[in-house]
Amino acid sequence: MIDFKNGTELLRLCQEKHLPISEIMKARECDLAETTEREVITKMKKVLEIMKSSAKTPIAQPRPSMGGLIGGEAQLVSQHLLAGKSLCGSLLSRAISYALAVLESNSSMGLIVAAPTAGSSGVVPGVLLSLQEEYGLSDDALLPALFNASAVGYLAMRNATVAGAVGGCQAEVGVASAMAASAAVELMGGSPTQCLDSASTALMNLLGLICDPVGGLVECPCQLRNTVGAANALTAAELALSGVRQLIPFDEMLDTMHSVGRRMAPEFRETARGGCATTPSGCAACLTGCSTGKNLYQI
């Protein structure tokens, strides 16, 4: 029975079995969920298919969000790149535009994969799909990266939190960024230790990020924060792959993220009572909910 409770145990398993993080996570799933590798891979292919469609559809066909605060951003960034004007280069530009696109799909009631949450669902696809295009990788080549990402996300769910209401945006986009960083490192040939180093860096750099959705909607600043989650993941992966070591192990970084989250004032934990949500422009853009006892849809 393969299982691990933290990053240290995961790395030990990788070393003992000479396997990457993705293989350990897949074996754990087969053992504990009493399922087969074939079934797990089929489900993961479906995840990838939904990620791709949610990241690409809005670039061709932009749609306004339910709350009316966003829509069309992904296409603009994509056109900027196509016009040869990208400041960041094609890899980062694509990562940004896919991350924007997934959040646009999400906020317009399109189909997405929560990764680990709906509000942070653009980071992992943003990073992996941009790497796929940049390096001409097949869909099958991306699957190990997704298994790797899920190992990091599992540790965050198990030992900390991925809920903005509990830990702020650092727990959502921060964890998504750590997942994407680790996945990118494995995808580009890095070691398990480098994977968790990059995950730790990604989390470190977003430590303390609050959750302050304008109008309580998953639109602004969520969509933009996904772009920073993706850019941060690529940076963290670059550092690890270059051989830059991380002082603080991933397990300790998760612990501190969790404790910072719990000490965050409630205003900054998905209540829309602080940060961007209470700026004058944020308030003005707010949609008001329904008033008490009002019958909205009379039969």
């Binding site: 797990v40 906020s107 599992y154």
Partner: protein, 228 residues
């Protein structure tokens, strides 16, 4: 600690924008649909807390209505729930109660009438990440998630009822993961709620119904048996 699957991390596959306000809402309504066990004729929703305040921008209304019509969280018909309901001649009503503050912030009451006139009253909470809990059925406090195969037996509170249910299950070699009993008052109507981590045969319902004092049996199946 409950098992966390790869697809709890990379998942649920869902129609956005919010796992709690959209996917969770849909799951609660879908459970109500499964418990009703027939097409619905009319549905009234009462939204509380954060559901009441932000339901529109999160599509909570459409997700709830779609769930009542049998849609799961990844059903791309969710955005078109109103059109679907009109086409099916399903009547709906949404009410918001922002005065009630004691409840979980994402709570909904569903009053559902089936085509035969059968009525289900249910209260659900969306507790985060798409996870839900049903906390009340027809006025009785209960607690289950519907994440696993679940059997709900409505019966009189009588001696031997638990023994009857468990013996029916053991005869069919079904292992019980959890079993909880909820009742109005001693001797009154009671709910036995059982959860399983394996498949449960459909005909178990008739077997359990054979005993006097069993009023209704609902089997909610979410996973098939293992396929290797």
């Amino acid at each position: 600690m409950a098992f966390i699957s790869i697809f709890d991390v990379l998942g649920p596959n869902m129609v956005g924008p919010s796992s709690s306000h959209t996917a969770g809402a849909c799951s609660i309504a879908l459970l109500a649909h499964k418990i009703l066990d027939e097409p619905a004729r009319e549905v009234n929703f009462t939204l509380y807390g954060s559901f009441a305040q932000t339901y529109k921008g999160h599509g909570t209304d459409r997700a709830l209505l779609a769930g009542i019509m049998g849609c799961d969280t990844d059903d791309t018909r969710i955005p078109h729930a109103y059109e679907m309901a009109k086409a099916q001649d399903l009547k709906w009503q949404f009410l918001c109660d922002e005065t009630e503050t004691e409840l979980h912030p994402n709570t909904v009451d569903i009053h559902l009438t089936g085509i035969s006139g059968k009525i289900i009253d249910l209260r659900g909470e969306s507790i985060g990440g798409g996870k839900i809990r049903i906390v009340r059925i027809n006025g009785i406090e209960v607690d289950f998630s519907g994440e696993d195969n679940t059997l709900i037996v409505v019966h009189r509170d009588r001696v031997g009822m638990a023994a009857h249910i468990t013996s029916c299950l053991s005869q069919r070699n079904v292992n019980i993961a959890y079993m909880k009993l909820f009742r109005e008052n001693k001797g009154d109507r009671a709910y036995s709620i059982l959860e399983f981590d394996n498949d449960v045969p459909e005909d178990i319902k008739d077997k359990i119904l054979e005993k006097e004092d069993v009023e209704r049996v609902v089997l909610i199946r979410v996973r098939e048996g293992r396929h290797d």
